[in-house]
Every structure is written in structure tokens, then in C-alpha cells.
Symmetry: C2
Subunit: 221 residues, 2 copies
Amino acid sequence: MNVMQSSPGKETSATRECYQTLRKMILTGALPPGKKLKIEELRNLLQSGASPVREALSLLTSDMLVERLDQRGFRAAPVSKANFEEILMLRCDLEDKALRASLARVDADWEDRLVLSHHHMTRAQRSDPDAFEAAHKTFHMTLIGNANLPMLERYCGQLYDLNIRYRYLAADGPRYGERSIAAEHEGIMTAALAHDAAMASKLLIEHYRRTGEYFIAQMDV
Amino acid sequence: MNVMQSSPGKETSATRECYQTLRKMILTGALPPGKKLKIEELRNLLQSGASPVREALSLLTSDMLVERLDQRGFRAAPVSKANFEEILMLRCDLEDKALRASLARVDADWEDRLVLSHHHMTRAQRSDPDAFEAAHKTFHMTLIGNANLPMLERYCGQLYDLNIRYRYLAADGPRYGERSIAAEHEGIMTAALAHDAAMASKLLIEHYRRTGEYFIAQMDV
DNA sequence: ATGTCAAATAATATCGATATTTTTGGAGAG
DNA sequence: CTCTCCAAAAATATCGATATTATTTGACAT
């Protein structure tokens, strides 16, 4: 057993550090869409060498958060109404499929995890917006995570992130439309626990469409 | 103007070179599934520095052809029956959607491109297997490429490549089941040109399922 | 024999420096 | 005034070397 280091919590590699920081900055809009991502700038910002920065940027292209221009470096992925509409459409399609597959394999353990993730989300609601964000994603991923379809889950996770990027850009922060979000989550969970796939899927997709149309309307302004 | 180099056709960056070579080697099985991808080895093989190799490997994780293990380097993505079944399922779902969206926007220009890509594919059939592979992908991508849904196209392209990887692994080469592939392609094209989305989609999915089930059967052996 | 630990080895991850390429800025011709 | 072209500047891409981390090997005790 090895204490490793006096400074606590430094377990991760420089590349991973860069990856996570850049990811969050792009998702929240700190690095705005289309922005040129210059290595030297990021090197300073992240206090790191050029190699980890480049590698992190390469990894972020997987998530469609960064674009690579052949010999002209990287830039934050652009946004557009059409892009958002495609994300929304794909989410509705893929999450429907994933949720049904997940519900086709219900067991007590999964139900426990779902209830717990929902509880954690509601508890985080008032305290820390950042913690709520994390818990919210966990809830949605748990919902579709019982399908044992790793690629489908990966796609859904990607699309989830791309979607909340638009939310941050639209709202300049994590605050919600503040409508009946909590009730909608509750309804989805209840239907899932009742093993009513049709109802759960219907509610889930309505949940997405409703927030989606709100953003689309905002983008017309 | 600068001659740059006596060896002709060297327009591309080292990273792109590595990316494309590694990609082809993984797709064709020259780098078998699960194989540890050591930087030093690849550096030798590709006659390149470590940086382009690492960057190429990072980019290949986007395509789900390479896995990154936290501080233990890279390896070629493993394969499994479950993985193939998921790919097949996702393809059927996504290509159905893409084909219908593509057909919803038919125009003369797209019909021309489709006919041409089909012609190039049939012409390449007997000559060069490598050229046929490329033409075959172009045909399928043209089919779904009129939808103006870039993310969906990207997913379909990814899944196409993952699928032909299994074909190479199963057949140890690009040779087909040699059944009525050509007739199937013709049928799909005809239905598409007749703007019959339901028929085109049905034929396309049957086309995928048929070859898919052939591979699945082989994997049981 | 068998399991454990530490040194030796091998591989990855990272840095700093350099070569290459793109972009910028401005002088001169039409 | 506008366009073209070339030199200067900036940025990217790449290399070679080093620091870190994982893996193997073999001695030692049980």
C-alpha cells in the first residue's frame, strides 16, 4: 500500500484532467461554439503540456464536442437549430428503444438503483446545481441502463450531453424552465416501476420534446 | 511553388496516414480484436513518431475500433456475438430511419448520384476487391445520404464499418456469401428510385439481416 | 512447492524543442 | 482602389528524450 502523494485526490492522468476540464467548459459554454481552440492558449489555461491537450481534444471529437480541421487545429463544435433538431430526433428514437429494452429486463436490483438515483436527484435539487446536473444524468442513464446494450447507451449518453449543452447555451446556466420537471420525472419512474413500457416511453419522449421545443423557440429569437 | 518531395502524392499529415493505416488494419483483422497496441511496435510498423501514433489511436476510439485503458495504453476493440447483434440491431433501426428521411427529400440530383454509385459498384465487382469495398460503402452511404442528417449519417457510417469488420473476421477476406447480393442491391435501388420508402427499407433491412444471421451462425461454431 | 515482496524491465505518458504549414500584413503592379 | 504575391509571424504537427507508471522476474520465507 502506498500513500502515493501528500496532495490529496491526484489519481488521474494529465490527459484525463484536460479531457474533463475541456469537456465541461465546452458543455457549459465557457468555450463557445465554433471557437478556435489553440493549443498554446489551452496549454496555459490547463497548466499542462501540449501532448495531453492535443490528446484530450482528439478524444473530444468522439463526443462530437470538438472538430478537427485537417492541418488547422481544433475548434469547439458549432451549433445550429438544425443540429439541435437532429439531436432531439435521435434522442427520442434511441431512448425509446433503449428504455423498452431496459424494461424488458427489469429485476429488483435495477428497480432499487432507479429509485435511489431518483431520490438522489430530488435531494440535490435545492442544494448544489452541479450535483443536481450529475444526479439528473445518472437518473436518465439508469433508466435506460438495464438494456445491456453498451453501444446504444453510449449514443444516448453522447446525445444527452449534446442536449444539455444547448440548455446551457440557451439559459446561460443550469436553471430549468422550472415547470413540472420533478413531476415528469416522478411519472416516468412510476410507469417504469409498473413495468408499463408504453407509458414510460411516452412520458419520457414528451419530457424531451417539451424542453426541446422550448429551446427551439428560443433559437428563433 | 514547391516540389515538396520527389515521391508523388504525399499530401497528407502523419497523423492521418497513421489513422487510415491503423483503421484498415483493424477493420481487416490484420490487427486482431483485443490485441494490445504498443506504441513502439506501431511506431516501427508505420515509420512514424510516437505522437502521430497516439493521436491516431485516440481518434480511432471515436469509431469504437480502439479502446483506451486508463494508464495501460490502447488495444483493438474486442468482438463478441452480443456486440455484433447490437450492431445489427442498431443498423436496422438507424438505417431504416435514415433511408426514409433520405427518400422524403428525393430530387433528380440525388437519383443521379445513386444510379452512378450503383454503376461504379457493379463495375468494380469483378476487377478489384478493394475498389468494390469502397464502392459498396459509397452506394450504401449515398442511399441514406440525402437526409441532411449528419449525425445520423455518421452513426450509420460507423456501424457500417463495424459490420464489415465482422465480415472480414468471419471470412478472412472480403469475399461475399456470393448469393444474390447484386440482385438485392438492384432491388433496393429500384424501390428507392420508385420513391417506395416502405419497400426500399424492407429490402435494405432484409439485406442486412440475411448477411447478419449468416455471421451469427458462423460465430456459434 | 507456493505465495509475497522488491528490484529490474518494459511500456506509457509527458515534456521541451524543432520542423512544417497556415495565416497575416504589406509592398508593388495593374 | 483592388488584386496578387511574397516575406514575416503565428500556429500546428512532429520528433527525441525523459519522467511515470505498470509488469515481470527472481530471491526469500513459509
